[in-house]
Symmetry: C2
Subunit: 170 residues, 2 copies
């Protein structure tokens, strides 16, 4: 990219990606317990009947402000968060199953967690009964794993240092 971004885009920051979740308790247990993420902010919308949970992996995250409004503004200033949306009552709807985007109709595909040691991470996921879509040794992309979150969304797991040959070399 030789062209500089337009000055009108200065300060634009990719803040989050949002996925809907059916049951907050099981999702938060998974994202904080198994993936080690922190809930940075929770917002409840009484009149609209939904709650938002903003999470991130802890590396490099500064301590959020305590005061509620400041903490909200701070949350929306961060980079690369995960936002989980809970529409109240979804957990009691026996017909509701959110769509992971990887079967028809396709669109969104996955989120990705980089880990320092892929083998240790796979062991950790196995110890926690996590479902795999693809183990590192399966399929045509070596050293890349995919697990499922409690709603079935795919989460790619990679160890960056093992991906140097990815791309043209395949």
């Amino acid at each position: 990219m030789t062209e500089a971004p337009a000055p009108q885009t200065e300060g634009f920051t990719l803040n989050h990606s949002m996925m809907r979740i059916k049951e907050p308790a099981r999702s938060l247990a998974f994202y904080t317990g198994v993936l080690g993420m922190r809930v940075l902010r929770r917002l409840d919308f009484e009149a609209l009947g939904f709650s938002l949970y903003f999470l991130n992996t802890p590396a490099g995250t500064e301590t959020p402000p305590e005061e509620a409004g400041e903490r909200t503004a701070w949350t929306f200033s961060q980079r690369g968060l995960l936002e989980l949306t809970h529409n109240w009552g979804s957990e009691d709807d026996p017909d509701l199953q959110y769509h992971d985007g990887n079967t028809d109709p396709q669109g969104f595909g996955h989120i990705c967690i980089a880990v320092p040691d892929l083998d240790a991470a796979v062991q950790w996921f196995d110890d926690n009964g996590v479902e795999f879509v693809k183990r590192p040794e399966q399929g045509r992309l070596p050293d890349v794993a995919f697990i499922r979150d409690p709603d079935g969304y795919w989460i790619e797991i990679v160890e960056p240092a093992r991906l140097k040959q990815l791309g043209d070399a395949l």
Copy 2:
């Protein structure tokens, strides 16, 4: 969150979210031109027939390494990127329209860009002919806008300082 993350999750980093795109040229023009993002890495998978584009907004991004393998490992070590996947030939399939996740079947919802000045950003999007799902003054969430990317995916646009009252106060 009073509980510390499990030591097995140390170093886990939320690296990216992936969405499929139909036409790389129009998507890259939009994400780099209108949203000011940079393509940090492109990976082509000849044998599998797809390409990946890793992008981020520039704030705080260090300069990527030049050497291809190092640059790939660096990309997968970053936080909060956007990955756009192009399955070769999708641009020539007249029946293909990716699913934005906000109509049935629901799942993924949107990505979000924080901007320093919401009014200026809206003007910039209007100047570029961007389609709005919701302008800031529409609907029940004031100061929150949603635009569409070329595939129809929703992109939330917020000015963090204007969101301090968001949540319980609504």
